[in-house]
């Protein structure tokens, strides 16, 4: 049993803190390697020229002013969701329910448009839609937050289940409102009167959405970094004990933060229905609730950095859409590529925090 043990082949230690420049270089390297790997995989599975594929993706994202605007809108919506999640995550509240919070926001907006359509002035209608969407989103986040605050109920699964409840609720109303009857969908709401549609600013349909997202992002950045609320929720996230010790009311902070988180999701739903799609389906949120988690995490919950991580993911999905039309591939191919890039970015965090020592190189170092 006392046979001679070998020195470990690879030995891992924590490394000294890197400068933020080095950190971003590591992440960039991760993304580059991922893109190369994606190219190789693309060639093997589809026998297409990977450069052609990337060129097509680039064209799909930036190929024309219209495409750039669509990209901007997609980024804005995704950014809104990610920014909404940031305070909750910084508080270590794993809100996987953004999907549902956005969905109820779309539902509330659509409900106002359908029910109040031509009965009140358009400005008032849009305002009521806005309030309804924000209240609905906030409510959807409030329920799990309340139980988390009072009884420490597992929020990850609670919020996740709330997504499906929201989806089914929307499905119920879609059948109620379907037009024409029996079609199973609602169609464009107020197609003739355009009641409740957000106005076109500066000649661009998506201008308003982009502006709203930019404002929300900057405000959230300031809120998290400089406000008393932002400080409180960070303390709660790091240690609830410490928070109580200095007299922070933990349950109140949890609920307040989630109300904010849900309200922004609701606002996103409002933008989606009133500003972009003008209809309601069960999947308007389109998985952004989950994608937003990753955007937020990749940016270390810093709203400004989320613009970059969000752009990366939106570029992938827009690009994948282009590939599918150009090459007749299934659009899910984009999800595969996105997944691969995420894996590499996740992995690159390791090389930021840890250092490897190999057996052979050891003698030379010391």
């Amino acid at each position: 049993m006392n046979s001679k043990k070998k020195e470990p082949l690879i030995h891992i230690t924590k490394r000294k803190a890197l400068t933020w420049k080095q950190e971003w270089l590591v992440r960039l390297a991760g993304i580059l390697i991922a893109l190369i790997l994606c190219a190789v995989i693309t060639t093997f599975t589809t026998h297409l020229n990977p450069f052609g594929v990337y060129a097509a993706m680039f064209k799909g994202s930036f190929g024309s002013p219209r495409k750039i605007w669509v990209l901007g809108k997609e980024l804005a919506i995704l950014l809104m969701v990610s920014v909404a999640l940031a305070p909750a995550f910084r508080m270590k509240f794993w809100n996987l329910g953004a999907e549902g919070q956005v969905t109820v926001g779309t539902l509330a907006t659509a409900a106002c448009m359908i029910l109040l359509g031509d009965k009140i002035p358009n400005g008032v209608l849009i305002l009521i839609m806005l309030i309804a969407a924000i209240v609905a989103g906030a409510l959807w986040a409030f329920i799990p937050a309340l139980f988390k605050a009072k009884w420490n109920t597992n929020e990850t699964l609670f919020t996740l289940m709330m997504n499906y409840v929201a989806t089914q609720l929307t499905a119920y109303y879609i059948i109620k409102w379907e037009s024409p009857k029996g079609s199973g969908n609602v169609g464009i709401i107020n197609a003739h009167t355009e009641a409740g549609w957000l106005p076109t600013l500066a000649g661009q349909k998506y201008f308003l959405i982009t502006i709203v997202a930019a404002i929300v992002t900057v405000v959230m950045f300031i809120y998290l970094k400089y406000s008393k609320h932002g400080y409180e929720l960070t303390v709660v996230g790091e240690s609830q004990q410490t928070a109580r010790y200095v007299g922070i009311k933990v349950d109140r902070v949890i609920i307040r933060t989630l109300l904010l988180s849900g309200a922004i999701c609701g606002l996103t739903g409002w933008l989606l229905v009133a500003g972009s799609d003008h209809t309601i389906t069960t999947s308007l949120a389109g998985g952004r609730g989950f994608l937003g988690v990753m955007v937020a995490w990749l940016a270390h919950f810093n709203p400004i950095a989320m613009v970059l991580s969000g752009l990366l993911l939106v570029f992938m999905s827009r690009g994948a859409g282009e590939i599918s039309t150009t090459y007749g591939l299934n659009p899910s191919y984009g999800d595969i590529l996105t997944g691969i890039i995420l894996f590499f970015v996740i992995a690159s965090e390791f090389f930021i925090n840890y250092q490897l020592h190999f057996r052979s190189s050891k003698g030379k170092e010391e």
Partner: protein
Amino acid sequence: MFNFVTFFPRAVVQSVPLLLGCTGETISEKSGNLNLGIPGVMYVGAISGVIGAFLYEQKSGANFNNFLAVLIPTLACLLGSLLMGLLYCFLTVSLRANQNVTGLAMTTFGVGFGNFFGGSLIKLTGSDVPSIALSSTSLAFTKTLPFASKAGVIGKLFLSYGFLTYVAIAIAIIASYVLKRTRTGLELRAVGENPATADAAGINTTKYKYFSVCIGCMVAGLGGLYYVMDYANGVWSNDAFGDRGWLAIALVIFTIWRPNLAIFASMLFGGLYILYLYIPTGTDLAVKELYKMLPYVVTILVLIAISLRDKKENQPPASLGLPYFREER
């Protein structure tokens, strides 16, 4: 009227993917790995099986052999799920990445992987069939015992299922036994509760985490395979598997990390999943959509109930979700 004899088998059929997913996730969580990638793994398991079966059906032609028709997709499914498990382990165990984010990325990847190959398999292989309908393979998977149909109500309730149903139940029972009664199970639980302690006791925590996550993924992957081959009669359609992966994860808490309880809990959930078909709603189709909420609402109520009475033994593994680095200080 509510007909239990027709309802129960349908509930069981619904329960099998949930049971396999739940058992797999439990094995993984017991070693401290909260794998939110399980929904993706189940997609990959399913599509791997489909690819295996598709290729076999294309190649075998007249020499179609029932045994191989089961074996090849099963092995393909296990291999696909294993690779996903290894990926998750490499990122979270070896590279100590955040488990939640890794899991979500795996789900994005896995669902995309399933839908991509589901949608493009025919084009990629240059076949001339109109859609993926693996009816011969499915028949092999759903074969029941020869006397089942003659055994009346008992046969209908208990013997009318394909072999994977019984495999799922067997896996759950074995997993329960191993976790609770064996030294391997004890050490596995120690790794999930307190990896530093397990490590100091000389247990190879990395090995245990890798094995339990990978086995967990393979078990969960079988759930995906069952769904396509047995439940869906060999027909792949994109996104049809839906949210079952997430429900399976919720079921883990519902069953307080006990796979043997999951056998019954999954049937209960399976029943809730299809209950809307049995509730008379007249002409109001919309109400059915509300009934479909049932499994989720019940899950939420269960989560609340469990949080209200917290007992030491019913808590999640103490280090669930946390990476372990021996030289942390």
